[in-house]
């Protein structure tokens, strides 16, 4: 991981050179029209994935990580979902403009996905071999026999012992970790260029988690597949990814290389996330949390989504909505780093404000003030 990584694209400006991006998401907005109103589950998300690289999408439950992934795969039911605006470019082709037939050819073959729940992601009535072989036969012109051989090979690739016998087994005969390996084998059976892993280890216990992550990393190194890793585990992010996208309330609040984001978090939310990781040095102390809850998805704040919970909130925050692509500056959706409309504070003053707010927050004890204390990231 290099600290001097090339800057991420800022899609609001003129279109950057797209040649070396495998996947580009530009200003994606996915809304759900339900009985109580409209939920803007994804509300202006942009990021890009390079060939063979790993991008981590981080954020708490309900921030739109999974919906982003499902939108890229076009697995959402339309309606109730609606892709209001945005472009998803995969190798320069607009995924959203593809026909259903073209999309089916893309799924599994070029973009594969691993789901969160290995226990329920396999069809209980077919052997695992049949399921992998089906995925193979959908995309490659091979015989039943060859497809089964390929299934055996991909099971071997994910470290399953005696795959010749395993292919004849049914999902209910396997453990959770084993099933997730099967899911990974199925996803990799057609050698996709991009693998989307939606919290692949959340449902597994800790030792198996480590094995599965190690497996994904090894396979990625061997096959050169790009990986989009969706997680809420910052430890996983630190170990696995090149670039990080931090999401909150359907928006990207901060993005950058893993070192930039984890070592020098700029957005108060990222800072809060990092501070809430329990560390060994804090034994006995109360765990830091981000006060408050995620805003009601039907009724998002007018200004910054995070403003109601933000310890550094100041005048423009409740009124004006900071966007990551707005007004230059670092890739952070926060008025501390950008010039708010009508609040033309020079950059220098900004920096002083940030420093002052940080000092103020750090000097207060959590018990006597509403402003939460953030410790430095435990790294």
């Amino acid at each position: 991981m290099t600290t001097a990584a090339p800057p991420l694209p800022v899609p609001a400006g003129p279109a950057p050179d797209t040649a070396d991006y495998l996947l580009e998401v530009r200003d994606l907005r996915t809304h759900f029209h339900v009985m109580d109103g409209t939920v803007k589950a994804v509300d202006g998300v942009s990021f890009a994935v390079k060939r063979g690289e790993t991008i981590g999408i981080v954020g708490e439950s309900g921030c739109g990580k999974s919906v982003t992934a499902l939108t890229i795969m076009r697995l959402l039911d339309i309606p109730p979902a609606e892709i209001a605006t945005g472009e998803i470019l995969f190798e320069g082709r607009d995924v959203l403009a593809l026909s259903d037939r073209e999309m089916r050819a893309l799924r599994g073959n070029d973009i594969a996905m691993i789901f969160q729940e290995p226990m329920t992601s396999l069809n209980p009535v077919f052997t695992v071999g049949n399921q992998i072989a089906e995925a193979v036969r959908l995309h490659l012109k091979v015989s039943r026999r060859e497809a089964m051989d390929r299934a055996i090979e991909s099971l071997r690739l994910v470290g399953i012992n005696s795959p010749e016998r395993r292919v004849k087994q049914y999902p209910h005969e396997m453990s959770g970790g084993m099933r997730q390996r099967v899911m990974i084998a199925m996803a990799l059976s057609c050698e996709p260029k991009l693998l989307i892993a939606d919290e692949p280890t959340t449902a597994l216990d800790v030792t198996i988690q480590a094995q599965i992550l190690e497996l994904i990393r090894r396979i990625q190194a061997e096959t050169g597949t790009a990986l989009m890793l969706i997680t809420h585990d910052l430890g996983v992010v630190a170990e696995m990814v090149h670039d990080v996208v931090v999401m909150y309330g359907g928006r990207v609040v901060e993005q950058g290389t893993v070192d930039e984001v984890l070592l020098q978090p700029r957005h108060p939310y990222t800072e809060g996330l990092l501070a809430s990781i329990p560390s060994k040095g804090m034994r006995g102390a109360r765990l830091n949390v981000i006060k408050g809850t995620v805003p009601n998805p039907f009724n998002m704040p007018k200004g910054c989504n995070f403003a109601p919970r933000c310890p550094y909130r100041f005048e423009p925050c409740p009124e004006h909505d900071p966007r990551i692509e707005e007004g230059g500056g670092p890739p952070v959706a926060c008025w501390l780093w950008k010039q708010a409309p009508g609040h033309s504070i020079p950059q220098e003053l900004h920096d002083q404000q940030v420093a002052a707010a940080r000092r103020a927050a750090a000097s207060n004890t959590p018990a006597t003030t509403a402003v939460p204390t953030y410790h430095e990231a435990p790294r």
């Binding site: 789901f115 009535v125 052997t127 005696s162 209910h172 005969e173």
Partner: protein, 341 residues
């Protein structure tokens, strides 16, 4: 993996399974020796859900009794007529008003009059009631089986389309189903049999089949509504499987359990319906023989106190329907994934 979920190693029994089982153990031992790392999780015999269900069914006593009776009936009605020495439609037996009680009768066989056993007695015209039951069963069972298949096929297709695609299609199809449930069923059957029936098996099969699919359609749709949200459906779509294939190959096998149970009960119901419709004279025409027909004609004999004429066809219906219901009960328990012994 939970200990109870794993099928216990099968006893090396006799027959083909025993041979296969022993060979599998032998292969396992050979492979085991070649591996550096022993994989203890691989069970000896891998069983599909259907195989597991079959195993549970075999342990269900009442279901096995039902299956036994059903197989016995099926074999009787298919095999006995093949071996009988005379044409059953017209037997010049000892014609006696009210017929003969169970015992011996004199019949013309190969141009000679012979004393032959008539275990179920005879009818007015000297017809053998045993033959009525056996030959009538062919038509009654055929009506049961084929109307079940038609209802099953139509119901599964309609239910699948409605449940998988949802929306306006679902709404339309389910309103049709509602209409079917709103009309008194027996009345419609009678009217349809009166106007469309020609007294043959085919038309009766079509009428019963095409009027009883809505039940199946509702069941299939209900299963689909929950199954189409299942993770494995998303996973299948994520590898690029198309809509029709997902609906019929991925979801349908998971939705079949309640349908299979309902279809057995539908079959029992169809046999009763045939008897009922034929009894009222709207079903199978008089020149053919079915259990319902036999019962209808037996009304003549009842006047003379000739119980055997009505009793044996009636028993045949009751026994068959009971056996099928037992089987349905066993299937329900066997196919329920939550009922593990």
């Amino acid at each position: 993996m939970a200990e109870d979920a794993r099928p216990p190693p099968r006893r090396p029994g006799s027959g083909i399974t025993g041979v296969l089982h022993r060979r599998r153990i032998a292969e396992d031992l050979i492979e085991e020796g070649q591996e550096e790392e022993r994989d203890t999780e691989v069970a000896l015999a891998s069983m599909s859900q259907w195989q597991l269900a079959a195993r549970r069914f075999r342990k269900h006593k009442m279901a096995m009794v039902g299956l036994g009776i059903f197989i016995f009936m099926a074999l009787s009605i298919t095999l006995v007529p093949v071996f009988q020495p005379y044409v059953f439609q017209n037997i010049p037996g000892a014609s006696k008003a009210g017929g003969e009680p169970p015992g011996e009768v004199t019949r013309l066989v190969d141009g000679q009059l012979q004393a032959q056993p008539a275990v179920f007695g005879t009818t007015n015209e000297g017809r053998d009631v045993f033959n009525l039951v056996v030959n009538g069963g062919r038509i009654s069972m055929a009506v049961g089986v084929f109307s079940m298949l038609i209802a099953g096929f139509v119901g599964v297709v309609v239910g699948t389309v409605a449940g998988y695609f949802g929306g306006a299609i679902d709404n339309m199809l389910m309103r049709v189903v509602d209409v079917f449930f709103a009309i008194p069923f027996l009345f419609v059957i009678l009217v349809a049999a009166r106007f469309f029936g020609r007294g043959d098996v085919l038309s009766l099969v079509m009428i019963i089949g095409l009027l009883s699919w809505p039940l199946i359609a509702r069941l299939v749709r209900a299963s689909f509504l929950s199954l189409r949200e299942a993770d494995f459906v998303d996973a299948a779509r994520a590898v690029g499987v198309g809509n029709l294939r997902i609906a019929f190959r991925h979801i349908l096998p998971n939705a079949l359990s309640p349908v299979i149970v309902a279809m057995t009960l539908l079959m029992a119901n169809a046999i009763v319906l045939e008897a009922f419709v034929s009894f009222l004279g709207f079903g199978i025409r008089d020149t053919e023989i079915s259990w319902g027909n036999a019962l209808a004609n037996a009304q003549e004999g009842i006047r003379f106190g000739n119980w055997w004429w009505a009793f044996f066809p009636g028993m045949a219906i009751a026994l068959t329907v009971l056996a099928i219901n037992f089987m349905g009960d066993g299937l329900r328990d066997a196919l329920d994934p939550r009922s593990r012994e």
